[in-house]
């Protein structure tokens, strides 16, 4: 199977670094990183990743709006929301907007990979 390519979207460098480590250790390729919703939509169009991890609360454009635009571009896009505790209603809104699944911070590497592998059917 070709290496899966992931786009990491989070306004916190700390979270991006953490996710990048999780993915690269598990053999994924990090195709790109975005720190706001606008950049996320642009990079998705450009990079066509197999998977997007999407923060919700971000400047310029929220993760929910970015997800909606990405899914409009590509209905098969796999977008996993990274939410914090206490954001369930926002996660539900994101799912309505087309998000594939979600993970809740704080997460461990294995939690992230379990969800990712499940939704990618691996």
């Amino acid at each position: 199977m070709p290496q899966r390519r992931v786009l990491i979207v989070d306004d916190a460098l700390f979270m991006r670094n953490t996710l990048r480590d999780i993915f690269t250790t598990a053999g994924f390729a990090v195709a790109g990183e975005a720190d706001d919703g606008v950049q996320a939509v642009n990079l998705f169009r450009e990079l066509k990743p197999d998977l997007v991890t999407m923060d919700i609360v971000m400047p310029y454009k929220s993760g929910i709006d970015a997800t909606r635009e990405i899914v409009q571009q590509d209905p098969g896009a796999v977008v996993i929301m990274c939410s914090a505790l206490g954001q369930e209603s926002l996660v539900m809104e994101a799912i309505e907007a087309g998000a594939t699944d979600f993970i809740v911070k704080p997460f461990r590497g294995e939690d992230v990979l379990a969800v990712v592998k499940k939704v990618l059917g691996e």
């Binding site: 916190a12 700390f14 706001d36 606008v38 609360v57 539900m92 809104e93 699944d101």
Partner: protein, 667 residues
């Protein structure tokens, strides 16, 4: 802590501190913003981001405070009213507590023993402030849709049941994902409980559904393969008797919770792409760029030994290289430029707290926040600026009642401006307060024995104000704990001058005062004359040197005689010995000595050294304690060969020489 620190702890700390700093300044501003405005979204985002990262790194104390603060912020935004001062105070305290916790995580602060209780009490107060506000409109259950799902009666009905894992953190969202999959496979006639009702219901739940679909039992069961946190899935054909009770389908739960900022982000709104670079990395780059320049200077020196026919081409190549290196150096310097606003961001908070304690109303106005200065200048300016501002609020501005009594508005005005003028930046701190008391300053200068009464009598009104910069001279007998802190205006002056800047003060009785700081844009390249004294090497800024010469001071008077002046270009100038000024042994043999002739503020003087070594370009770095207290030093630099070098401050040297002279004269 036995565990190794998290790999990205430093990234977390840097980001969190940035968020918290902005949070504090936005909280101060929110009191003056229209209710429910976009600033609330930004405030929410700061707390939220810190919470998310802290949760991942495993800092529960931060998560706890951030979580309750976030809840309060959400409610304050939703109530569409201006927040009360008490509520903002509470959020500012939460910000302080978060800063404290982040600093602790960085190892910069030790926790006092009572901290856990304090933090607990804060969380308690934040929670009760939240509870006092109306609950947010619940996001779910959503209103029932008027239209009931209608399924083709010929389609088979499937009973579907599944459990949500106990560990599932967002059961409502998880059930919604299942619901969406089932809807894609047919007509979902029933689902119990609805996703909205499962929100916040952790600990596992059993969900049942009725689906009208042409798909087989296996196919429907297969839908669950790609869904995490779902267990004990059962799918079977429903008994025919189970007539479809067309249960309403929940439309998307429209959340009334905190609105995400409007998607206004067009591409052009985003400035140039930026990356975060550690300040230290830029410092290193700058050092290395400077070293390249030094290397080139050495090459140039070495090229002089080449035969003349080879030297010309070599030198032109070196010149080109030197221009490129200078360009590189300039670009790194530019990358280090930091906006003035980075200094003023935290001031509104400090002023608000201080003014409230003093029972004053103060309005702060910042102009020119976008003016950029070198990071070194910005860093060194932090304390002096804070001091001037606190001083203005504490001593300069009057109380509301005093102001109204003299016909001013009850609210004091404090204005901070920065503006660029050629290669300088002018920073002004002005207030419309009572102004300095010139007579009092004069009196104190005499009382403290700093100046004679004759000298003081010669001073003009404006010159008298400058007395405030003399060491130990404060208009109040005792420094208050608010702005005193054992630091006087003399320290502010010293800090500004250490940066190669100047400070001035204008004042008018009853109208206010204005400090003007003239600062270098950057701590730039200095062309240095290297001199040796007592076996040590020092640098003198070439900009202050008007000549070098050799002179034998003892020639005119024989053994033991030393003239105090020498003739330079037909002018008699004072001569001082650098060795004596610094109490160093002079290692030069008797006889003619090399002199550097300097000019400061229109005064020319000569400085004798043991040896003139040469010239070098160097980047000046500000002095670190305790060297910053030594008069006559301007900074440090590192020479091409890696050796550190002290750079001398001609103005300071002249003052040092003058006071030594006075001492001798007095003795």
């Amino acid at each position: 802590m036995a565990e190794a620190p998290h790999k990205y702890l430093h990234a977390f700390i840097a980001e969190a501190m940035e968020h918290l700093e902005q949070l504090a300044s936005e909280l101060v501003r929110i009191e003056h913003e229209p209710p429910g405005g976009p600033l609330w979204d930004s405030i929410f985002r700061h707390v939220h981001s810190v919470k998310g990262s802290a949760a991942t790194i495993g800092l529960p104390a931060i998560v706890e405070i951030a979580h309750v603060a976030e809840t309060l912020i959400g409610k304050l935004k939703a109530q569409h009213r201006r927040p009360e001062r008490m509520q903002v105070d509470l959020l500012l305290q939460a910000t302080d507590a978060l800063v404290h916790q982040v600093r602790r995580a960085s190892g910069a602060e030790q926790a006092p023993t009572s901290e856990a209780e304090q933090s607990g009490a804060l969380v308690e107060r934040l929670s009760s402030a939240s509870s006092a506000l109306p609950e947010l409109a619940p996001a779910a259950p959503a209103p029932k849709s008027a239209q009931k799902p209608v399924a083709d009666p010929s389609l088979p009905r499937l009973d579907v049941a599944f459990s949500l894992a106990k560990s599932c953190q967002a059961p409502g969202a998880r059930a919604l994902i299942v619901q969406r999959k089932l809807k894609l496979a047919g007509t979902l006639l029933e689902m119990e409980p609805q996703p909205g009702a499962l929100m916040q219901r952790k600990g596992g739940a059993r969900v049942t559904a009725l689906l009208a679909t042409a798909r087989s039992v296996e196919e429907v069961r297969g839908l669950f393969d790609g869904i995490p946190e779902v267990e004990e899935v059962e799918v079977r054909v429903a008994p025919v008797a189970n007539a479809p009770v067309a249960e309403a389908q929940a439309p998307p739960p429209s959340t009334a919770l905190l609105a995400i900022p409007e998607a206004t982000g067009s591409e052009d709104q985003r400035a140039e792409a930026t990356v975060r670079v550690r300040a230290h990395a830029l410092d290193q780059l700058l050092d290395q760029a400077a070293e390249v320049l030094h290397g080139i200077a050495r090459l140039r020196e070495a090229a002089r030994l080449l035969p003349e026919n080879a030297a010309a081409q070599f030198e032109s190549e070196i010149d080109r290289l030197r221009r490129t290196a200078r360009d590189l150096h300039g670009r790194v310097m530019n990358a280090r430029l930091t906006p003035f606003s980075s200094l003023t961001e935290r001031l509104p908070r400090a002023i608000r707290d201080l003014a409230h304690r003093l029972g004053k109303e103060v309005e702060l106005e910042v102009q020119g926040g976008e003016v950029e200065l070198d990071r070194t200048v910005i860093e060194a300016l932090g304390d002096p600026l804070t001091h001037l501002v606190r001083n203005a609020v504490d001593h300069g501005l009057e109380t509301g009642a005093q102001r109204i009594a003299v016909g001013k508005s009850g609210r004091g005005l404090l204005v901070l401006t920065a503006r660029r003028e050629r290669d300088k930046v002018l920073v002004e701190v002005s207030d419309d307060g009572a102004g300095f008391d010139a007579a009092r300053l004069r009196r104190r200068a005499i009382d403290m024995g700093l100046l004679s009464s004759e000298k003081v009598a010669e001073l003009s009104e404006q010159q008298s104000y400058e007395l405030a910069f003399l060491p130990g001279l404060s208009t109040r007998a005792e420094a208050t704990d608010l702005s005193g802190r054992g630091v006087g205006l003399d320290a502010v002056k010293a800090a500004v001058e250490a940066l190669g800047g100047k400070i001035g003060l204008r004042s008018a009785p009853g109208k206010g005062s204005r400090f003007t700081l003239e600062l270098p844009l950057s701590v730039s390249m200095a062309n240095l004359l290297l001199v040796q004294v007592g076996g040590e090497m020092y640098g003198l800024p070439m900009t202050r040197i008007i000549a070098t010469t050799e002179y034998d001071l003892s020639a005119r008077g024989g053994e033991g005689f030393e003239a105090r002046s020498l003739a330079v270009m037909g002018q008699l100038v004072r001569a001082y010995s650098l060795a004596k000024l610094f109490g160093l042994p002079s290692l030069a043999p008797p006889g003619p000595r090399p002199f550097a002739v300097l000019e400061v503020d229109g005064i020319t003087f000569a400085l004798s050294v043991d040896r003139l070594v040469g010239q070098e370009e160097a980047v000046l770095k500000p002095l670190f304690p305790p060297l910053d207290r030594v008069r006559g030093l301007a900074g440090t630099t590192v020479l091409g060969n890696g050796r550190p070098l002290l750079v001398l401050d001609p103005r300071g040297l002249h003052e040092l020489a003058e006071s030594a002279q006075r001492l001798r004269g007095a003795a």
